[in-house]
Amino acid sequence: MSVQELEKIFQQRIDEETKIEPKDWMPDAYRKTNIRQISQHAHSEIVGMLPEGNWISRAPSLKRKAILIAKVQDEAGHGLYLYSAAETLGMSREEMINDLHSGKAKYSSIFNYPTLTWADMGAIGWLVDGAAIMNQVMLTRTSYGPYARAMVRICKEESFHQRQGFEALLVLSQGTKEQKEMCQDAINRWWWPSLMMFGPKDSESTNSDQSMKWKIKRKSNDELRQNFVDMIAEQVKVLGMTLPDPELKWNAKTKHYDFGEINWDEFWNVVKGNGPCNKQRLDARRKAWEEGEWVREAAAAYVDKRSKKLKIA
């Protein structure tokens, strides 16, 4: 069969909503796009542990500390589900880790912002995880089977992340004057970067998008971003806080919230590696990898020794 014929059959299967599985024929570009996207997603989970790890030892109570540890452990797990999904496409784990550490592979820019106060843990759960969930719920229906299955598992766990974040802010919003200010300050700092998580505006693209055609993605950046704004604009009222956007207003005609322009210069700057914490995050990853070397060596030596013992016995 020619490549054209195979591609035609492939697209038919996508159109019929048949999932693509690891051993199925797929166009090279489909494989490459999925490897890039899934591994970036995995890296985001792994790097995403760092801003929160910052607060584990400084959580205000034992309860909050236990919650935060559980959340960070989930993120490690999510990274592992996703790395495994990407490996089914033929890229090794080691290669992915190396690409992250060399700076070749990207991760979500949101994790290049610093976590300055305890309220940031709440704002990350509510806003950052909230934005991620919008994307991840869509991805449970993505066309590549292992990715879709990983996303189903992740979404089940992710809802706790968002709820605990909102609840942490709720407590602050009912606290002292200082706690209220801290809550509002965290929302102010995380709001715009959260909106940037959805990527550039649809109108900036002059191409028909292959990812949509292959059903890797099913909703556009603007669609997802609008859903997010509509959701958060309502939820912020419960906190008695505000979003830092004077242009945010309910539009009765469109039945959506209008909102102001995102600072796209800042967006591209952080993507290109010049965010407040880009260097710090990668340094932390590399340090963890290097300092874990002896553990990996010890594990390998142990299994070696044990297999020799088994042979003798």
């Binding site: 090794s92 080691e94 979500s108 142990y302």
Partner: protein
């Protein structure tokens, strides 16, 4: 793809945008890959849930416990090194499964019975 600004989505940042350095190639240091099967409760089958890397079976079970059963998703874990799994080839699906299509008499709905006994 044309020359316009390329649309990308959250989780899919094109490589060319980043200031990447060197291509790091794998040198085969990964621990073996294991497929993980979990029994969610007594009485049900073990079901494939995903895979992970571990040096040996014992470590694979310990890691599977942390990765796949953080919320009581299982009561029993099986691990099998991935290289020992032989999978059927999707291209042979036709020969493998098609012969069953013309054997409709293998299904109970093939038999039309009188109303009196139709719930048999």
């Amino acid at each position: 793809m044309g020359f316009g600004v390329r649309l990308f989505y959250y989780g899919d940042i094109p490589e060319e945008k980043g200031g990447g350095k060197t291509d790091a190639k794998a040198s085969g240091h990964d621990w073996p890959l294991w497929e993980i099967f979990i029994r969610s409760k007594q009485g049900l089958d073990h079901k494939h849930v995903g895979s992970l890397h571990a040096t040996d079976a014992q470590m694979a079970i310990e890691n599977a416990r942390d990765v796949y059963t953080r919320r009581m998703e299982g009561v029993s874990i099986w691990v099998v090194e991935s290289k020992y799994i032989t999978a059927s080839n999707p291209e042979e699906a036709g020969e493998l499964y098609e012969p069953a299509i013309d054997k409709v008499y293998r299904h109970p709905t093939f038999y039309i019975l009188p109303d009196e006994v139709n719930h048999m």
